[in-house]
Amino acid sequence: MTATTTAPAPGTTRRRRPGMPSGQTLPVLVTFVLFVALFTVGSLRYDSFFSAQVLLNLFVDNAFLVVLAVGMTFVILTGGIDLSVGAVVALSGVLAARLLAAGWAPVPVMLTVLLVGLALGTAMGAVIQHLEVQPFVVTLAGMFLARGMCFVISVESIPIRDPLFTAIAQSAITLPGDTFVSPSALLAVAVVAVAAYVLHSTRFGRSVYAVGGNEHSAMLMGLPVARTKVAVYAISGTCSALAGLLFGFYSLSGYSLAAVGTELDAIAAVVIGGTLLSGGVGLVVGSLLGVLVLGIIQTFISFEGTLSSWWTRIVIGVLLLVFVVLQRLLVRTPSGAP
């Protein structure tokens, strides 16, 4: 990351006509186009696929993943990674279910869960930044820790019977055209909107991009690098806890083995949305589109209906492959393959 990030030589900069998408928005546009293509293919192939409700269900079913992906986008934009998010989702669910079962009121439970996520994220960020341990290792340890704590709290699945939780879980907001969404879906969209605002219109957002672009330059420019890096993990931790609550609304239970492997889904969504794992390049809207792409792949599987469990995995893998390859072929960066 030293010689490669110097200013591009005059010959290598692509001449950009006004109105042409920049290197940052082009992958997002491509993801969007491919998403529309997938939706079109689904509509042609299956009856009743083409409906607003199918589209809205993508948000309803993947609300928690959207929130996870938003947190992950912040982390990946700084060039880091957070493997703990799936385990934190499970921990939040188990903790919430356990506290509710112990007779706590729902609002303090939610606040406690969010605080635990914030604390865990901040702690991991502090270790990564101040003790200079690699993010992959710290968050992997965080993943083990959170999963382990789940088992310490309860090995069994705990049902959630709190009236407020069940009310949120069962309520639906009717939209024009005889369609509906869940409150969780709206919350997820709101999180995306807030994240987009923070990333593109605040000083903190600029610092996130600057740190990911080149940490050393960002420091020389006097940006608060340390604070920014700790903050992104705190954001990711809080988002994971919020996602855990949404997952709790969705499943109405807390289970230690919930959301295993979700961290990879979140990372995949972020990357499919055009964010570079090396940091500095990406849009949070892309991550939303990434989640929708993963969601529509699942919808395909459920519309097909006859696939046995192993074919499901293979088809998901193949569709992911097709998508990633198509995106790669459509978005050609000058640096090319390694």
Binding site: A7, Q24, V133, A141, F151, G213, G280, S309, A337, P338
Partner: protein, 349 residues
Amino acid sequence: MRSPLLWPLLALAGLLLYNLLVTPAFFALRVQDGHLFGSVVDVLRNGAPTALIALAMTLVIATRGIDLSVGASVAISGAVACTWIAGSPDPTSPGTAVVAVLLAVGLCLVLGTFNGFLVAGLGIQPIIATLVLMTAGRGLAQLITDGQIVTVSNPFFSGIGGGFLLGLPIPVLVTAAAFAVVALVTRRTALGLLVESVGVNPTASRLAGIRARGIVWSVYVLAAVCAGVAGLMISSTVNAADANNAGLWIELDAILAVVIGGTLLTGGRYSITGTLVGALVLQTLTTTVYTTGIRPEVTLVFKALVIIAVCLLQSPKLRGSSTRRRRGSPPPAAPPTPLVTEPTPASAR
């Protein structure tokens, strides 16, 4: 300069010392039918598949990549071998076992080539490229075994995981040989240097005349083949192929072993000895947890704490020499600079 291996070795020594004090039987070795038995031998034997995968992962990570699909390759390799043996007309003959092994390793060669094509050929980010096979791989393994756990009873095949040669378990010998060969090939020739140069800067190394693409491609092939051999070890130890659980999360253990050994995930510098020590630390830790009788639910917490301890101890060494960054608060914030509003465009990388 102190060796970067200092802290991992100390961690290993600490774990062994703990065992010496708490469970002295840990070090008891006995020879039975000319074969060596004991907890220490168990550590080596059970750790062999992870160590073998970690060895290849070291080179993958040295090229700034990562391979998430090795666990799936482990499952596929076991599934292919066991299904072939179970379906053959003569399921107990050595010939059947040899064909099964060749089939499994051959298929993994293809899988590695596929991963290498995605990463080196198409230039897809390694974590996503290998995520494809990670997702689809277990499904493939289940397809091969038809969703069943395939059990076999072939003495020759069992020998791969459970056999002994010169009194030592065969998996240990295979892994040791692999380490020796890779260490010799990469450290006694320029190959290791080339791998590191690709990890530091793929474009620059290509411009310098290094066949970066070929090197990246071959490390993924090596990773898949090592995973295939590890899969044979794992499935032959239990004489069965479990498509769902064989090698589950082994990629994380392998990556962890590499990192504990002092290799940076950002590529460009690696230590094969470090990986070996890292794999031993992990396996000793696992065995210690079992022999000490810690509650199984708390095992993950315990593992997390030890990992973080090892990495914390190692950390100043890890990066202190390479970056001289100021700790603590940065200088008082300068007025916001308009320079950073535009993040580095993709075209600059």
